[in-house]
Symmetry: C2
Subunit: 360 residues, 2 copies
Amino acid sequence: MPYPEEAEGFQVDGPNSFTEFHKRHFKLKPFGDYDVDVKIEACGICGSDVHTISGGWGAQKFPLCVGHEIVGRAIRVGPKVTLIKEGERVGVGAQSYSCGKCKQCRNDNETYCQVEPMDTYGSKWADSGIVSQGGYSSHVRTHEHWVFPIPDALETNAVAPMLCAGLTAYSPLVRNGAGPGKKVGIVGLGGIGHFGIMFAKALGAETWAISRSRAKEADALKLGADGYIATAEAGWEKEHLCSFDLIINCANSSEGFDLARYLSMMDVHGRWISVGLPEEEGQVIKAQNLISNGVLIGASHLGSRREMLEMLQLAADKGLKGWVEEIAISEAGLKEAMLRMKKGDVHYRFTLTGYEKIFG
Amino acid sequence: MPYPEEAEGFQVDGPNSFTEFHKRHFKLKPFGDYDVDVKIEACGICGSDVHTISGGWGAQKFPLCVGHEIVGRAIRVGPKVTLIKEGERVGVGAQSYSCGKCKQCRNDNETYCQVEPMDTYGSKWADSGIVSQGGYSSHVRTHEHWVFPIPDALETNAVAPMLCAGLTAYSPLVRNGAGPGKKVGIVGLGGIGHFGIMFAKALGAETWAISRSRAKEADALKLGADGYIATAEAGWEKEHLCSFDLIINCANSSEGFDLARYLSMMDVHGRWISVGLPEEEGQVIKAQNLISNGVLIGASHLGSRREMLEMLQLAADKGLKGWVEEIAISEAGLKEAMLRMKKGDVHYRFTLTGYEKIFG
């Protein structure tokens, strides 16, 4: 198989035409000693893709090919690569590089590297100035640390969304003690939230799904939830005052959100961790809301390589898989997916398939 | 010595006349089996006293005698009291009761009891409906759990403010890991903050004072600070990016506070804990501000009996004392103190003295 000099993928030209995808060739970064070329076979569609290309998160580097829930085959590994074997099935997530040397990188906090963090799409490679392009494309090339072997037990299309959404849910669960004897809530039953329920339960926590209506209750229970709270119902928080050790907030909007009621459900020094990045201006937090139970509020960003490998193994061991709708990659398929994502009309993640047919 | 049926103290009638104190007699709660009567010898003046009587924290039960940094003598102990001996010098802080049975009370979190929490002033005793009155008075009566023996090494007037301000600073320090190898910041060099510096250093942490100007730098260093940050200076946060394990925010206002700059100084998963209760509406917090280093934001309320005893022992062992200005208790003295508190004109705490002269 010849090594690629370029990749081919679907780019968007700007927020005003974010549903118009254009199939183009673009340059990959120069191949480095630690790099791996991945021939892509599937890619999940993440909320971040939509926020990015529709302008919700502000200015971006267009034209841009998004996608950071990538599964494919390692078709070439650099001479110094030790973590990945040529021919292996691998994944690539939302981050593609960090300095590797700073305090954060040395402590499994590479996702918080402040020196040279790189997103899988829309960041500039230091070696060439080339803007990274994501997985709605034929190939990605990146440093081995950011390429993850996929256990055989996991099916390509179902595992793809774990590479970002899954890890985003898994990391704050394990970093904040989700496990036996702990009561954990998952707010927002979307792409990230459905993994949150699955993993909280797999880790042994008493797991509660927290959603607006009861529409997703059956799904939540099937995903593993022990209980369900519908916040459209009167007095929904009353039975749970001061009882949750951890709530992962996966809602991607903070509008109309009565945070104080949610926080009243937290046990003393419980933790409320947000993983969504709403497009709104933020929430007013009063010390008064935090003081009655000493709750801690935080946010979490992706997860480490170590956590990614642990999560994939946990999924393999317990037979967990993302609930995905498959869409064949094409201009029309991507347009439809974006429009449905904007409406929240997906249960619970899209995976783009049919790469062989489009890219050869 | 005859047992008191009533106490005598200085009450305020409402927020519109919060500097006018009236010396009056008022009823103590019925004496219970676990109660201790304390004849007061000194009382610190807390910011809470001023917020409460000037209406900053909303409606209160007037007329009210405030004061919750009480030191005095245990002159009577109930038949079931085991923690306090008659004649002992003791302190009483800002809380005077909790249920003693709930999960929080059983886990050294009695300060977060949701069942029957009682403030030392302004709360209703369940046994009688009597509204608790504070330490600008001759006596208090409360459950032994909320009465603390004072080690001999500590001087009455200097230890008084430790009963609230000191504990408020100490508890979040120990609960959030302040100690050797940790970098701890104290924002706001007032009554609580000056204890924060003293205790952070005594616990072995690298301790930084964070204040607006350099006006308090010499004091901060004398209190034990290893370094000083003046936020009126350009680029004040730049040398400290991603380095603090813990910052205790003791500022009692959030106006004009650029939280994102403070948070940029936090190490990954560092903790920003507020202990002030500003009168303003709160701060807008964006998940974006929290996500770059996964910082946790929280608030802390007082501390447990166990922590109070530990703190007093630490102070005795290390020769720590509050920096106090003494003011003789009287209508005029209290008025002056309130006016100066409103202006923040105190270094760093007032202690009311001369109780014997006024109350006999």
